[in-house]
C-alpha cells in the first residue's frame, strides 16, 4: 500500500460550465503538512470544495486518489466517513441545531458508516469536553446553536474542535486564518499542530504567509490561474510574502 495519502493528478474542475482548475497535480504523503497559497480567484476554494465533494464542482478530467481509492464518485458524507475533513472558510450558521447535538450526530454517523459502534451521549460529551478545553471552548458555546451568532474566532475554533473530535486522516483547512486576530490565530494553529501525526496528512490553503509561521508546512505550492505554478519548501512562503504573488507569477 502506498504511503501517499492524497494523489491529485491533472485535475480539471468546472463550475457552471466554466473551467476553474486547469490541471492540478499534487501528492501529499501521510504525516506531511502541505500548504497551497494563491491570490484571490486562483481556484483555492474550488480545490477544497472539490476534494470534499460539494455538488456543482464537476471533475472534467484527471483524478483524485485517497489511499489509492478514487474519490470522485463518493458523496461528501462517504468521504467524511473515510477520514476526509474540510474546515470551511465560512462555517455555516445553523440556528435550531445545538452544537453538541450536531457533534454527536456527525461523529456517530461517521462511526456507523465505518461499521463502528455508536457512542452514547455521555461518552461523546466526555470526548468533546476534553478536546474543547485546549481550544478554550466552554460548555456554554457547545449549548448554543451551531455557529449561530458565533464570532469569526469562535467559528474557526469550532472547526478545529470538530477536526479533533473526528480525527480525520486527511484534513483540508480552507483559509482558516481569515478573519482571525493574532491571539485567535495562535490558538487555532496550536490546535492544528497538536493534530499533526505520522498517519495524518494536512492541506492548508491560505492567501497569507502569516498562518504558516505558526503551522510550518513541509511543502508549499503556489496556485495561480487554476494551476500549481511553483512548489518548494517552507521558505517559498516567506519568499512570497517578501515579493508578492506577482513576482512569482512572472517567474513562472
Amino acid at each position: 500500500m502506498s504511503d501517499m495519502m492524497l494523489e491529485i493528478d491533472d485535475l480539471h474542475v468546472a463550475v457552471d460550465g466554466k473551467e476553474i482548475l486547469k490541471g492540478i497535480t499534487l501528492s501529499i504523503p501521510a504525516g506531511e503538512v502541505h500548504a497551497v497559497m494563491g491570490p484571490n480567484g486562483s481556484g483555492k476554494s474550488t480545490l477544497s470544495y472539490t476534494l470534499a465533494g460539494r455538488e456543482g464542482y464537476e471533475v472534467t478530467r484527471g483524478q483524485i486518489l485517497y489511499h489509492g481509492e478514487d474519490l470522485t464518485q463518493l458523496a461528501p458524507e462517504e468521504r467524511a466517513a473515510k477520514g476526509m475533513f474540510l474546515a470551511l472558510q465560512y462555517p455555516v450558521e445553523i440556528p435550531g441545531v445545538v452544537t453538541m447535538t450536531f457533534l454527536k450526530t456527525a461523529l456517530n454517523a461517521q462511526r456507523r458508516a465505518r461499521g463502528e459502534s455508536e457512542l452514547d451521549a455521555l461518552k461523546v460529551l466526555k470526548l468533546v469536553r476534553e478536546k474543547a478545553k485546549a481550544l478554550k471552548i466552554g460548555e456554554e458555546m457547545l449549548k448554543r446553536a451551531l455557529n449561530a451568532g458565533f464570532s469569526g474566532g469562535e467559528k474557526k475554533r469550532l472547526e478545529i474542535l470538530q477536526m479533533a473530535v473526528f480525527e480525520p486522516k486527511m484534513a483540508i483547512l480552507d483559509e482558516t486564518d481569515s478573519g482571525l486576530d493574532i491571539d485567535a490565530l495562535k490558538l487555532v494553529a496550536e490546535g492544528v499542530n497538536a493534530l499533526r501525526a505520522p498517519d495524518r496528512a494536512m492541506l492548508v490553503i491560505t492567501h497569507y504567509q502569516r498562518l504558516l509561521s505558526f503551522i510550518v508546512p513541509d511543502r508549499v505550492h503556489v496556485l495561480a490561474g487554476g494551476r500549481i505554478v511553483k512548489s518548494g519548501g517552507a521558505d517559498l512562503a516567506l519568499e512570497l510574502e517578501a515579493g508578492g504573488y506577482e513576482r512569482i507569477l512572472e517567474d513562472a
Partner: protein
C-alpha cells in the same frame, strides 16, 4: 359573474339559513343583550357571507369553494372522548370538548370560574354579558361573526389569580355525516392575573367536518396570557378559528400557534394593543403537505409604547400551500410603537406553494416597524456543511427541516410544552418531508 356567483350573491348561504331557521332555539335565545349581539353578528357575517377569493383577506384561501356540501349543525354526543389532549401531561384544570360541546371538566384551579355557554341563561354571571360577543364577531372576521351568531357550544372562563393553568381539549371523534360546529371561547383575565392556556384540537375519522371556533381574549391591565395552541385535526377536516384579543395597559400576550392538521385551516387573529405598554408576541408554525394552512393577523397598535413581535414559519411539501398574512396597524398617537414581523417558509417540493403578505399601515410618528419575508428551498451551503461532516443527505435534510422549526420554538416555551409540541411536529415533518411519488 358566473351563474354560481350570482346564485351565491342572491341566496342566503348555509349559515344565514341556519340562523333564519334556528335562531330562536340557540342557547340563550331570548336574553335581550345576547339576541341583540347575535343579530349584529349575523348582519356582520352577511356582509361577506362564507368568503370567496373576492374577499381581500381571503384571497388565498377559498373557503366558499371548500364548502360545497350542506353541513348539519353539530349536536352534543353521548359517548365520552377517548383520545387525550396534546398537552395531557402538563398540570392544569382540563376542559374536554367533543364536537365543540363541553363534555367534561377535570380538576379545578383556584381563582378560575367557568361557564358552559351551551346552557347560557338569565342566571349567567354578569362578567359574561359584560364581554361576550364583543370580539371576533365583526365583519372583518366573518367566520368569527358566524361562530358567535350561531354559537351552540363553548365555554367562558374568568381568571382572577396569578399562575392559573387551563387545558382546552377539543376532540373531534369519528362520526357519520358532515357537521359544522360553531363554538365560542371567552377568556377574561382580570387585572394582574395570569393564565397559561393550552388549547389542543385532535381528531380522527374521515368526515368533512367544519370546526368553526371563535375565541375572545380579554386581558385587563397587567394581565398575562401564555397561549399554546395545537391544531392537529384529522386530514379530512376543515378548521377555522377566529381570535379576537384586547390588551389593557401593560398586559402581555404570548402565543405559540401550531397548525399541523386539517386539509384547510385558517387562523384569523386580530389583536388590539389597547393600553399603553401592552405587548403581544406571536409564533406560528405550519407544515402542510396537501391542502392549505393559513394564518392571517391584524396587529392593532392603538396606544403608545406598545410592542408586537410575529414570527411565522412554514415547511411546505407535496402540493401543500402555506398562507402567511399579517397587517400591522399603528394608529394616530400610538407613538413609540415597536413592531416586527418575519415570515419564513421552506418549500420542499416543486409544487409546494407559499403566499406571504406582510403589510404596514402607520399613522403615528416615532415608531419602529420592521418586516421581512423569506421563501426558499433548503440551503445548499448548510446541506453541504452537514454532509461534509459525515451526516448522510436524508438525515442532514431532516436535521435542517427540524432546525428551521426549532428556531421558532426552542427559546419560546418551557421544556414540557416543547416536548409536547415536538411529539406532534415530528410526525408532521416526517410526512411533509416525504418525496412525492
Amino acid at each position: 359573474m358566473t351563474a354560481l356567483a350570482i346564485k351565491q350573491a342572491l341566496e342566503p348561504d348555509l349559515f344565514q339559513e341556519d340562523f333564519a331557521v334556528h335562531a330562536a332555539g340557540l342557547p340563550g335565545a331570548g336574553l335581550a343583550w345576547l339576541d341583540k349581539r347575535r343579530a349584529e353578528a349575523i348582519k356582520a357575517f352577511a356582509s361577506t357571507g362564507i368568503p370567496t377569493r373576492r374577499v381581500e383577506a381571503w384571497k388565498y384561501t377559498d373557503l366558499s369553494a371548500s364548502i360545497a356540501e350542506t353541513l348539519a349543525p353539530a349536536v352534543r354526543m353521548r359517548e365520552p372522548a377517548t383520545t387525550a389532549g396534546a398537552f395531557a401531561e402538563i398540570p392544569g384544570a382540563r376542559l374536554v370538548f367533543t364536537g365543540g360541546f363541553l363534555h367534561a371538566v377535570h380538576g379545578s384551579e383556584s381563582g378560575v370560574e367557568t361557564v358552559d355557554l351551551s346552557t347560557i341563561d338569565s342566571n349567567t354571571p354578569g362578567w359574561v354579558n359584560d364581554h361576550f360577543g364583543l370580539l371576533a364577531a365583526g365583519s372583518e372576521q366573518p367566520l368569527g361573526a358566524a361562530s358567535f351568531a350561531l354559537m351552540r357550544s363553548g365555554v367562558a372562563v374568568r381568571v382572577r389569580a396569578p399562575n392559573a393553568a387551563l387545558h382546552l381539549d377539543f376532540i373531534n371523534p369519528f362520526r357519520r355525516g358532515d357537521f359544522v360546529s360553531h363554538s365560542r371561547v371567552l377568556i377574561v383575565i382580570e387585572e394582574g392575573a395570569s393564565l397559561r392556556l393550552m388549547e389542543s384540537h385532535t381528531g380522527e375519522g374521515t368526515d368533512q367536518t367544519l370546526a368553526n371556533l371563535g375565541i375572545e381574549l380579554v386581558l385587563m391591565p397587567s394581565a398575562k396570557l401564555e397561549h399554546v395552541r395545537l391544531q392537529a385535526e384529522a386530514p379530512s377536516v376543515r378548521h377555522v378559528t377566529s381570535i379576537g384579543a384586547r390588551l389593557g395597559r401593560g398586559a402581555e400576550y404570548r402565543a405559540l400557534y401550531a397548525a399541523l392538521g386539517a386539509h384547510l385551516s385558517r387562523l384569523d387573529v386580530r389583536i388590539r394593543l389597547e393600553g399603553e405598554g401592552a405587548q403581544a408576541n406571536l409564533r406560528n408554525i405550519t407544515a402542510p403537505r396537501a391542502g392549505i394552512a393559513d394564518i392571517t393577523t391584524v396587529m392593532d397598535h392603538a396606544s403608545p409604547h406598545t410592542t408586537s413581535r410575529q414570527l411565522f414559519k412554514s415547511v411546505v411539501g407535496g402540493t401543500g400551500r402555506a398562507v402567511n398574512q399579517g397587517r400591522v396597524l399603528v394608529r394616530e398617537g400610538a407613538v413609540k410603537s415597536d413592531s416586527h414581523q418575519l415570515f419564513k417558509s421552506l418549500l420542499l417540493s416543486p409544487r409546494a406553494e407559499c403566499d406571504a403578505k406582510p403589510e404596514l399601515e402607520i399613522f403615528a410618528d416615532d415608531v419602529i416597524c420592521g418586516h421581512g419575508t423569506a421563501i426558499g428551498a433548503l440551503d445548499d451551503g448548510a446541506l453541504f456543511y452537514l454532509r461534509s461532516r459525515g451526516i448522510p443527505e436524508p438525515e442532514a435534510k431532516e436535521l435542517l427541516i427540524r432546525a428551521f422549526m426549532e428556531d421558532a420554538i426552542g427559546d419560546f416555551v418551557d421544556p414540557a410544552i416543547h416536548g409536547a409540541i415536538w411529539r406532534r411536529l415530528d410526525g408532521a415533518l416526517n410526512v411533509v418531508g416525504q418525496t412525492e411519488t
